[in-house]
Symmetry: C2
Subunit: 267 residues, 2 copies
């Protein structure tokens, strides 16, 4: 299989750097092909702007999404963007690896998403009608591919637990897992999270890498997070609110997960 | 009062640009002093790296937080960072204004947070003991200052409602409002959110700016979001999980809001 690792840490000798090297070795040993987008090493341009296309389409005013659409459709995107899109097309699975900085991904990786996720590739795909609202959330160009986050954080696991002060890790990662990965069609696997990074000694590292190795071995048969597909009937269109009879008392991110009973009855 | 607007949109003639200009005029007319950090116009460096300090402290390996601490304590931060920190100290209120891109702030603004929020300024402040776990979440260097988000999004309000497919807007903004603003001590006001930006015509813009103007007039007497202070007894230390008797059946972000009954009994 083809695996793309998009990696965002400024220091190769960091815990993140070691885990990234471990992943590449482990996957290659298992016979997979691996490409790494090492964003810091590539000096990746983080800020989306009018220089992202070779030729301006619109008039004086820069509309980010319309310029992206025009550039994507007419082969006018800057080369660094095209190269990453080619890696995404090539990949059967994508791993985003990063330290959690201020409860989200580092700016350099957010800028990778903003610039590489073109209009026509990652959004603005498919027809809008009474039955469908674009191909997104379970459909889209990346349908059939898998994705997984590998995340490190200095905080304790309890700080990120169901009642921990930072908020539950699943909720903090929802805008990424649901909004960035499930949106253009990826099947999203549960994340691999390392807590309290300052306490990772040799014994702990051995344990972490063994667990991560097993996660990589199971990349193709781990059940994805059961997000609800948008166009399967679960949501009213175009309001895109969850049907009243599904998870009737729930609000918030968790409502967008299918329940075991529903999963059992899906074809 | 002194107000800092940190603004992140690449196009001055955008809806965001117009709302930013409106805010500056409105606040100045009311007698306030305003500074704007127009991140795109400033060509703000988005990616945190070893070049953010004038002199490397550690050895070969770059530890982002330790280098930040050393540079902050020894006046070795790069000038662009120092200038933003001075604006933060000067400000009585801070407004972060941005379009919601992939369910979070643009990379250029995330990079402002990562680089300006130094160790010793925005985190790593105060003692850790049995009674306190640093000065954060309600305490910290920015205590006494107010903050507010001004956010635009192309999606519909229903898509961001309690059962909307994108997740509730309050939950999507929690990592910013709680994790980035409340964490170093800001009192965070409810956000001002504009939905379905492509449908904002002249009449709608007049309505939006009138509403925003009232929000600015009320900046000093709007009740902040009632996040729970970390060191007030609500959380076990050091686990930082919410006390069992508070919001006993709740998990997730909403558990970190004080309930009306509790608020009424606070001194």
């Amino acid at each position: 299989m083809n695996i793309l690792v998009v990696y965002a840490h400024p220091e190769p000798r960091s815990l993140n750097g070691s885990l990234k090297d471990f992943m590449v070795r482990h996957l290659e040993r298992a016979g997979h092909r691996v490409q790494v987008s090492d964003l810091y090493a590539m000096n990746w341009k983080a800020s989306l702007d009018a220089n992202d296309s070779l030729e301006r389409h619109g008039g004086e005013r820069f509309y980010p999404s319309l310029e992206s659409k025009h550039a994507f459709e007419n082969d006018l995107q800057s080369d660094d963007i095209v190269r990453e899109q080619e890696k995404l097309r090539w990949a059967d699975a994508v791993i985003l690896q990063f330290p959690l900085w201020w409860f989200s991904m580092p700016a350099i990786l957010k800028g990778w998403v903003e610039r590489v996720y073109a209009y026509g590739l990652a959004y603005g795909v498919g027809e809008h009608s009474d039955a469908r609202w674009g191909e997104r959330y379970g459909e889209g160009r990346f349908a059939g591919k898998r994705a997984m986050l590998v995340v490190t954080t200095g905080g304790w696991e309890s700080h990120y637990s169901a009642r921990g002060i930072n908020g539950p890790i699943d909720d903090l990662l929802f805008p990424i897992q649901h909004g960035i990965l499930y949106y253009p069609g990826f099947d999203v696997l549960p994340p691999f999270v390392v807590y309290r990074t300052s306490r990772v000694d040799e014994a702990k590292y051995a344990e972490l890498s063994a667990t991560l190795g097993r996660r990589l071995d199971d990349l193709w048969n781990t059940a994805p997070i059961a997000f609800r597909p948008q166009n399967s009937g679960a949501y009213a269109i175009p309001a895109l609110t969850l049907r009243d009879d599904l998870a009737p008392d729930q609000t918030g991110f968790a409502a967008h997960l299918e329940e075991a009973a529903e999963l059992a009855t899906r074809p």
